[in-house]
Chain length 154, copies 2
DNA sequence: TCCTTATTGATAATAATTATCATTTTCATT
DNA sequence: AATGAAAATGATAATTATTATCAATAAGGA
């Protein structure tokens, strides 16, 4: 166990959840890598290196829990395994979206954002929330296509 | 077999692919339901009703093929099974995005804000294409949150 | 009609995720 | 610090979506 994210801990206590070693290890891994999108297996391997007792099922359970709490975001890029990353609601997490290559599966993050883009997103979210009585927590934006490498070969 | 989508057929011939009954049935199903997002199983069941000889593996193969050709779009809403729908590039397919309830899995389509959104999206796509030398074919936009029903109960 | 080859369907195999359950931890209370 | 109820865990089996295999079939040019 390394570092406790006080914000997350407070939320867990408030919801009657227990602060366990396994959970802290997983949250620490995700907190330290806000710009990465890890698969459950990758997280398991990293957690296992820190605390070899941790089991695979618990990793899945913890990831589900954190996603349910809105702390992490589950995303799928089409290769059959889900990825997880910190929500933008968390501190130090840059707003970013993904370019997904449908050929090789490569995922590029981009963080450039015009103010115009941000404004429109906020506006759309607000209007959708009202119209559909839908409490929007976050969004997923992916641009799918062919990356530079695959484009050369193809 | 019902109806042949001439545009799709032309593309298939051009790429040396064969116009088979199974493929036509599946394309027909998708073409007739441009606003739906079917799972592979749902498509299999519908195809099976039209032509009981069709096998599950072929449904998957055909969906992969069509996705590769950019005719349909594979998306995942987080419930473990992929969904497929016509690309906006196809005729009669309205520009739309999704609201996904992380509680019950319900998916709402919305079509509002199209003009402004489309414009900005086109601009962003152009800029990203150039910057990352990435040939963008389509995009996935999902707003995740809690739907009206789940909000009441929760 | 014939012939080559892409495509198919049935089935088995794979791989990610989830359910089960006895055991261990957490943490409020003493 | 010790206690005890309940939540959480780890090992494992079970489930489920998807993919690979392969002999049989059908598409389409000759």
């Amino acid at each position: 166990m390394r570092h406790k994210n006080p914000w997350v801990c407070r939320r867990m206590v408030k919801e009657g959840l227990r602060i366990t070693q396994t959970r802290m290890v997983i949250i620490d891994i995700l907190t330290r890598n806000p710009e990465k999108h890890f698969s459950a297996e990758e997280i398991f391997l990293m957690a296992h290196r820190i605390n070899p007792g941790i089991g695979f099922a618990t990793v899945y359970r913890t990831l589900d829990l954190l996603a349910q709490m809105g702390i992490i975001q589950k995303m799928e890029f089409g290769d059959g395994k889900a990825r997880y990353e910190m929500t933008e609601a968390m501190e130090n997490v840059p707003h970013h979206h993904h370019l997904v290559c449908t050929e090789c599966g490569k995922v590029i993050d981009y963080t450039e954002f015009t103010d115009e883009e941000k404004e429109l997103l906020a506006k759309v979210e607000k209007e959708l929330s009202e119209k559909y009585k839908f409490k929007i927590k976050n969004h997923i934006i992916q641009f799918c296509g062919i990356c530079n490498n695959c484009g050369k070969r193809g």
